[in-house]
Symmetry: C2
DNA sequence: GACACGTTCGTGAACGTTCACGTCAAGCAT
DNA sequence: ATGCTTGACGTGAACGTTCACGAACGTGTC
């Protein structure tokens, strides 16, 4: 004990500036300020029924003790402030932050907190993300990539809004009308005179990331099941549409990155030099495809048109500027939050009407097609 | 009431599937399963000392009642799982998600939760963001844009790590060596033969977003105070360096978006047609500058070189690919999390040595300069 | 048959805060 | 003096969970 009795600047209770001991509680503050718990509460929460000088004295004491009210004790007695989990596969893909930004904004407006998880770093799955989020949140919004049933099981009665898939066993779902998107894109390409199409799909999560997928010519013949070589529902919609439009379409598969898409597109162009129209899984990969076309000396859209998918701002910065099947991402975020809001407030019933939305892309014409 | 007495699949206590009443507590489960609180705890948390069949019966009961343990009660008795707030000005700028992604990854590895706030939507400030986060978190990491003192005051003893500014009154700070960055860039441009430089700075937050800032020729003459027309420390470093290298440099100011930067650059090029080297506040705005140069029919880098700042992946997708003063964003995130980790564990003392880091950009040479 | 022992389960206490009261004194009218 | 109001402050109870015990019940051992 080196504390001398005449110590200046600390006429407080013992242990006032104590180092690494225990967190200060409301009782410590009350004792140090010579008042009761309730008065401390009144001082800290700007409640009436306390004399201004008392309030200030208590606040000063709290400051000196480094007192911070326990959010757990507060939450326990007051009933939860709602906090929602946001499960995102990859913040590095500009699509997701654009969506997340909207969710965070609208959630904040409602006084919610957003606990974010960017899973997929260590190769985690959406379900693992929900598992990590679950103990901390009252609801989850997320791109889970399937497995909504397991996620809902983990959450119990707490609402779950899944994106890019129908609700299924989840509380709510927002999915996208890929058939409509595909038809819109192919109609446009057909009108432009494109005849030899290609679609670059995203490789499934489990696929080997090192070896870009095979380039397969899938001349769509009715009755042929192409599901195996076309990993995503998005891709399958394009295959269906190509058949309906009677257009030839090659499908290539690439991991979800611009660099991989560039490489895959290069191979595609070598094996199918006559390709005059390419649709790509998303805008990020489309950027890679544009690079590959430039590498091969082709002019876009004169030699080959390109259509991306997402509508992220990135597209406007590319050269040529990217024509894309755009989603209004702020709108998607708004839909998700409003759906969740309805679920939480009880004005919407899980699995009931209005919990399974279908959103449409619209074609934004820029230079590349 | 349409519930018939012979209803199957629900032999539980009354109110089992009750609609919107009260949240089920551990006591409800205990009563319904015919056991005690503690046994329910043991069943839910996979603790030993419970018979497998009991465990399963309890779990099933909990599932049916939709029981979810209160995170508040749990936290109160167990001591907090740490959750950190992440205050970000704008998730729409690709710089921030790249950083956030790294923070979320490393925080998750440590078992922390990340509460994200994307302030700046409604024109909120960093301090307001901290205010919103404070009741929910044990620490904050953030790009606050100054005002670290107020933020720290709100947080009390809880650690605060600020980015892009020295720690000051905050617990820890990570800042960037802009003088070094500026010297690196200008040295390169000088070697390339550039003689008429321009720097495009970001307009301060309070500035009118509609009217892009003035284009001012700041031929650096020693003794002239240019601080007023150069809003950021980043910009001031470039002005200083230009003076040191004895290079002419015009400073223009633009709101932080590619579209605005494009517009400002266009005006800059009209007023200063001889410009042969441009450095831009960040990569996003540099993308706009590249567009403006293309608009004016100039070749990059032949007619005019461009150097961005940040090192976000976007730069590689542009045409021409963007030379940039890159920050290793995963490294920045790692530094922030490790700093916070030290602060939280007590191995680092707030304001002590090692809490104020200075990171350096390195020049990534691509096509644009 | 007494004892020790392991397994399974239940009970008091505690976590830190707020809510709903209760108390006490001062001021004022009757 | 009495009663009533008002302002400032204190006290019991409750929120829902886990921790540290203790009780009850077999099961084996000597």
């Amino acid at each position: 004990m080196t504390t001398s009795p005449g110590d200046a600047s600390s006429g407080l209770a013992p242990g006032a500036s104590a180092g690494r001991s225990r967190r200060a509680t409301i009782l410590d503050v009350a004792a140090a300020a010579g008042v009761s718990r309730q008065t401390v509460t009144r001082a800290m929460n700007a409640m009436p029924g306390i004399r201004p000088d008392t309030r200030e004295r208590v606040q000063e004491t709290a400051r000196q003790l480094g007192y911070t009210p326990s959010r757990f004790a507060k939450g326990l007695v007051q009933g939860a402030r709602t906090s929602v989990g946001l499960a995102i596969p990859d913040l590095t893909n500009p699509y997701y932050p654009a969506f997340a930004s909207s969710v965070v904004e609208l959630a904040t407006q409602r006084g919610w907190h957003v606990v974010m998880d960017d899973y997929g770093h260590g190769g985690a799955t959406g379900v693992e993300s929900v598992q990590h989020l679950a103990p901390q949140v009252d609801a989850v919004i997320g791109y889970l990539g399937g497995a909504a049933d397991e996620a809902q099981a983990i959450l119990g009665r707490r609402p779950l809004v899944v994106l890019d898939q129908p609700a299924g066993p989840a509380s709510g779902g927002i999915s996208f009308d890929y058939d409509h998107a595909a038809q819109t894109a192919l109609r446009h390409l057909q009108a432009k005179g494109c005849r030899q199409l290609a679609y670059i799909d995203r490789a499934p999560a489990g696929a080997d990331q090192r070896a870009p997928g095979p380039v397969r010519a899938n001349r769509p013949t009715p009755g042929t099941d192409t599901a195996q070589s076309v990993p995503t529902v998005r891709g399958q919609a394009f295959v269906r549409s190509a058949a309906a439009f009677d257009m030839a379409m090659t499908v290539a598969v690439s991991p979800e990155s611009a660099a991989s898409a560039r490489q895959v597109t290069r191979r595609l162009l070598e094996e199918h030099p006559g390709t005059d129209g390419i649709v790509v899984f998303n805008d990020l990969m489309a950027a890679g495809a544009l690079k590959a076309l430039a590498d091969s000396g082709r002019a876009v859209p004169a030699d080959c048109a390109v259509i991306g998918m997402d509508g992220i701002p990135l597209g406007q910065l590319l050269t040529p500027e990217l024509t894309t099947l755009a989603l209004d991402l702020r709108e998607v975020g708004r839909a998700a939050v409003e759906l969740l809001d309805g679920l939480l407030s009880g004005s919407l019933e899980a699995g009931g009407p209005g919990t399974d939305l279908l959103l449409r892309h619209h074609l934004v014409l820029r230079q590349s097609a």
